[in-house]
């Protein structure tokens, strides 16, 4: 494998970076279909039971949800900064940006975990053996809301965890990767991270803000 490009199919690193970016965008298109399908299921259920879903959505904690959205948008910001620094070859700035992004991701997961715990204690989580406790109208449809809420946010959290792992890997192998390789990794990680942020940008209003 020629030192300058990772796969010998490419002559110049620039062409390989373009291929990486295109490949990542195709992967993001497939991920969008995955989240799209789940969102479709949620939308179908919400159209069928508007009042029940509105009432159930009230039980989600708006302050924590909003705070989490701020955290994730900030992590996108630090990721974008890391990319700007990597472009300019300022590797210290790039690694700082990456580290901040990973840390903010962990903060998001922590806040999410706390939210899950309080919902579990309230008896809303589809945990085996824990009976579903809910007083509002149409408890069955409300249970469907919470089950969908947990499914979608858990899948998003899993993707975020994947993103944090990748950021950790890129940082761990930072010194041993060549400049071209570093730029490719920061670009790819950035694209994925921003996608996960865009998914949350849609999930937050759809789940938390049903006519408060």
């Amino acid at each position: 494998m020629s030192e300058r490009t990772q796969s010998e199919a490419f002559a110049a690193p620039r062409r390989e970076l373009a291929a990486d970016t295109f490949g990542m965008w195709i992967f993001l298109a497939s991920e969008a279909m995955l989240f799209g399908a789940l969102l479709l299921v949620f939308l179908a259920a919400r159209i069928a039971y508007p009042q029940a879903f509105a009432a159930a959505s009230g039980h989600l904690s708006l302050p924590l949800g909003t705070a989490n959205t701020v955290v994730l948008i900030t992590s996108s910001f630090t990721m974008a900064l890391a990319h700007v620094f990597a472009d300019a070859g300022r590797w210290r700035g790039a690694t700082a940006g990456l580290a901040a992004t990973g840390a903010l991701g962990l903060v998001f997961l922590a806040v999410k975990g706390y939210e899950y715990r309080s919902e579990y204690l309230e008896g809303l989580a589809p945990v085996l053996g824990a009976p579903f406790r809910y007083e509002g109208p149409a408890p069955a449809n409300a249970e469907l809301f919470f089950n969908l809420y947990f499914t979608m946010t858990a899948l998003h959290a899993a993707h975020l965890l994947g993103g944090i792992a990748v950021v950790g890997f890129v940082l761990a192998r930072w010194r041993r990767t060549a400049a071209a390789g570093r730029l490719r990794r920061v670009t790819a990680t950035g694209l994925y991270w921003h996608f996960v942020d865009v998914v949350w940008i849609f999930l937050f209003p759809v789940l938390y803000l049903i006519d408060r």
């Binding site: 993001l28 708006l62 900064l81 694209l191 865009v198 209003p205």
Partner: protein, 86 residues
């Protein structure tokens, strides 16, 4: 406007839009709430995609992939909901 400055400006715009979304939820608009929520989310997504993901610079193939993504999502949502609500 340097790249870093543009990134910061976008970040602040995103936070402002978030505040707008949350604020609008408390204003009783009936169906308008849902439409507004999705519209603001769409604007935020465009900002992230264009500025943070550098959608407009670089070669055209990523834009092709993104266009296909949106078209296929439209097929999935459009045809399914039409078939169910008919």
């Amino acid at each position: 406007m340097s790249a870093a400055a543009r990134t910061l400006a976008t970040y602040l715009a995103l936070l402002a839009l978030l505040a707008a979304t949350v604020g609008s939820a408390f204003v009783e608009l009936g169906l308008g709430n849902a439409v507004l929520n999705v519209a603001i989310a769409a604007v935020k997504s465009v900002l992230v995609v264009v500025v943070f993901m550098r959608f407009l610079s670089g070669d055209a193939l990523p834009r092709l992939a993104a266009a296909a993504m949106l078209l296929w999502l439209a097929i999935l949502f459009g045809l399914t909901l039409a078939a169910r609500l008919a």
